[in-house]
């Protein structure tokens, strides 16, 4: 017999740590809730002979109908009726967390509480009488310290026990006081007349939601014969309560929480915690931003410099594979494997170290709790730019790879804010574009090459900001959604947790590499090698390039550049490879030489900028469609980026020629 267990709780309570501790990685499965962009994580585990299916529900502060992730959680509990719902509570933050427990009890879920971060609560000077608390709520409570693996076995024991005795125990009901209970009862009486509703949903919960004017539940009663009677009952009860029922109920829940905690929680005098000390500086009025800059600069330095020799290692590995395959008897096959696969793909894979190191850095900052402060600091600036403070993290991730960056926009609440962030994200220079810059800058700019490469990063940021402002003023008018963010306590990130987070994001890039880049490398190889034996100009690649070249004449791009740009659509890294094939040379030095011979520095710089800004790679386009859910905006993005790239290219060409560099 398999029991279904749902994990639920506020954000930052350690839910994912518990999930990862209970379910071994190999048995985890990540997907999406059907029809939604909310991520669904589930897995199986076996505890003392019992098999458990664990479903990780999204971390939310409430269960209203207002947010997709809240609805998903709520519907799951009410409709799928899991055997046990484990409510993970942050013990150091127990007051607010217990509010959520009441919501779960209203849903008549079979609740087991994991009182997590128990160590932090102790440090804060909290003394919690777990037995008393459990008695008052009527649910089993297990103190845990998930990061130290404490209490998890007992938790699993309680889960199994709760699942087994579920049918035999009446669910605890919390009394909300005479006035409210009367209001609820009168609605429940009407509900019970309906045949279907009380079978499908807990009547008490329905009544409460109806009183709260919950959109989703109001939809649910639409078909009922008693709809108008219900609506009448609701109005009457609302009047009886005197104030907006939603607030009356919320206040009551908090009152009950206080009452319960009065007998089970003792707070010692407030200690001056490390978090207080750190925040004094990290969100300091004047030092906050410089410290932020220093931390991120350190992270980028780490990501790019420490990974350099490893990139070299990977590169040489694939080069030797490519050389070895030259020995394959069949010429076409040799070329396919050598140039197409090892050559093309290998080059791309050399960028794994910096991207992973970057994600590691971000994960460490995130797990320590600093990233929330960074978002807070950035919010002030981002607000003026028409963006939301939460857009900061996706933008940051964009420096690694746009694919996980765009997926990270899910935490942004306002639709418009999210859309703007998605639209401008590709302007942030991702790791893939770096090889192109390095090649071109190295070829044309000698000692200033590094500065030229840096300028691309800044250019990307500036364009993203300008475009965000523009979009905010025109197509996506409105104020950004209010920024409210919880700042978790600082904690030392564990190596294991950070590596897991790094891996989760890095894997997106790898998937992209495994699919699009591989396909791209093969297609590129095919189009440039065939017709077999022909000169490059006459290959399919050449033909495409020559057809489109006239459009790019004002920028000084000839057919060779255009052809490589077309291929870079598959993945921007491919541009280098493409140029190599088109010039029929191998190795970066040779390609650089060919470039310098054919073009002037202005064109070089314009090309760098164009690569930065134009149409995102196929993987990104695919992600855009998935995250925005609309072809309209995806196509808009494609067109927008192309137009912006072209315009900026023209500006650069104009300025450069005027300054005499042409």
């Amino acid at each position: 017999m398999v029991y279904t267990v749902a994990l639920i709780g506020n954000p930052n309570v350690g839910k994912s740590v518990i999930f990862n501790s209970i379910v071994p990685g190999a048995r985890q499965h990540v997907g999406n809730w059907p029809g939604k962009t909310v991520e669904k994580k589930e897995g199986k585990c076996v505890h003392k002979g019992t098999e458990l299916k664990i479903v990780d529900l999204p971390g939310t502060y409430s269960l209203t109908a207002r947010a997709v992730d809240e609805l998903v959680s709520r519907n799951y509990i009410v409709e799928e009726k899991p055997d046990v719902v484990v409510h993970i509570i942050d013990a150091s933050n127990i007051e607010r967390n217990l509010y959520f427990t009441f919501l779960l009890l209203e849903l008549e879920a079979n609740v087991v509480i994991a009182l997590n971060m128990f160590d932090v609560a102790k440090e804060k000077g909290y003394i919690i009488d777990v037995k008393q608390l459990s008695k008052q709520l009527g649910v089993p409570i297990v103190p845990t310290v998930a990061t130290a693996n404490e209490g998890l076995d007992k938790l699993k024991d309680e889960i199994v026990y709760a699942a087994q005795k579920m049918c035999h125990v009446t669910k605890p009901k919390i009394n909300y006081g005479q006035t409210i209970e009367d209001a609820i009862d009168s609605v429940v009486r009407i509900l019970k007349k309906d045949e279907k509703l009380p079978q499908k949903y807990p009547s008490r919960w329905l009544a409460i939601k109806l009183l709260e004017n919950d959109n989703d539940v109001l939809e649910k009663i639409k078909g009922s014969k008693y709809q108008s009677e219900l609506e009448g009952g609701i109005t009457k009860s609302t009047e009886a309560l005197g104030d907006e029922p939603e607030f009356v109920l919320a206040d009551k829940r908090y009152d009950l929480v206080s009452d319960i905690l009065a007998t089970s929680l003792v707070k010692e005098a407030k200690k001056w915690t490390i978090t207080d000390m750190l925040d004094k500086v990290f969100i300091h009025k004047f030092l906050g931003i410089p410290v932020f800059i220093a931390l991120f600069w350190a992270m980028f330095r780490f990501a790019y410099d420490a990974s350099a020799p490893f990139m070299e290692i990977i590169g040489l590995f694939f080069e030797s594979l490519a050389k070895a395959s030259a020995g394959i008897p069949n010429e076409v096959l040799a070329s396919f494997i050598g140039d197409g696969i090892f050559g093309g793909l290998g080059f791309i894979l050399t960028f794994i170290p910096p991207i992973f190191f970057l994600f590691l850095g971000i994960s460490v900052l995130e797990d320590s709790g600093y990233l929330a402060r960074a978002a807070f600091i950035m919010d002030r600036i981002m607000f003026k730019l028409g963006l939301h403070g939460r857009s900061f993290i996706p933008m940051l991730l964009g420096f690694g790879c746009n694919v996980p960056a765009m997926m990270a926009t899910r935490s942004i609440e306002g639709e418009k804010d999210r859309l703007i962030t998605l639209l401008v994200n590709p302007f942030i220079s991702c790791g893939a574009r770096l090889p192109v810059y390095i090649l071109i800058a190295g070829a044309f700019f000698g000692p200033m090459a590094t500065t030229a490469v840096w300028s691309m990063y800044f250019l990307g940021i500036i364009v993203a900001i300008l475009l965000a402002l523009l979009l905010r003023k025109t197509l996506l008018k409105g104020e950004p959604a209010p920024f409210i963010m919880e700042l978790p306590l600082y904690k030392a990130p564990t190596f294991r947790a950070s590596v897991i987070h790094m891996w989760e994001r890095g894997v997106q890039f790898l998937k992209k590499a495994g699919t699009y880049l591989l396909a791209g490398a093969i297609i590129l190889w095919f189009l440039s090698t065939f017709p077999w034996g022909a000169e490059v100009e006459l290959s399919y690649t050449g033909q495409i390039g020559q057809a489109l070249a006239p459009l790019f004449a004002p920028l000084g791009f000839d057919w060779r550049i255009v052809a490589s740009l077309v291929f870079a659509l598959l993945a921007k890294e491919i541009a280098v490879e493409a140029l190599g094939i088109i010039y029929a040379v191998e190795g970066e030095t040779a390609i650089a030489g060919a470039l310098v011979a054919s073009y002037n520095p202005v064109i070089g710089y314009a090309l760098m900028a164009f690569t930065l800004l134009y149409i995102p790679c196929v993987a990104t386009i695919g992600t855009m469609k998935k995250e925005s859910g609309s072809w309209k905006w995806t196509i808009f993005q494609v067109v927008l980026t192309l137009v912006v790239a072209y315009v900026v290219g023209l500006v650069i060409t104009g300025i450069g020629t005027a300054l005499g560099y042409a």
Binding site: S62, E95, R96, E244, E246, Y254, R380, F483
Partner: protein, 84 residues
């Protein structure tokens, strides 16, 4: 005692929430995070100033968690200052 917007409380001050001047969405959101009537909030860090039109975000402690929000919201939360 007078009601003042949370934005006007200096760092270290405590206030008791009297009401929230905003649309339902905001009120509900804040209430989910712990900002309910009579809840006590302590200002941890404020880049705001009493002058209207000036200032930036705030960080407060409410019900044991630290919440950060922009000034736009801070002016909508009305509190009564409480002595330490």
């Amino acid at each position: 005692m007078m009601e003042i917007p949370l934005a006007m409380l200096p760092v270290g001050a405590k206030g008791k929430i009297t009401r929230i001047r905003g649309g339902r969405g905001l009120v509900r959101r804040l209430s989910d995070m712990g900002f309910t009537r009579d809840a006590e909030v302590t200002v941890v860090c404020s880049h705001s100033s009493p002058n209207p039109g000036h200032g930036g975000p705030l960080v407060v402690e409410v019900k044991d968690s630290r919440i950060a929000f922009g000034r736009g919201i801070a002016v909508k939360i009305m509190v009564q200052e409480v002595d330490n």
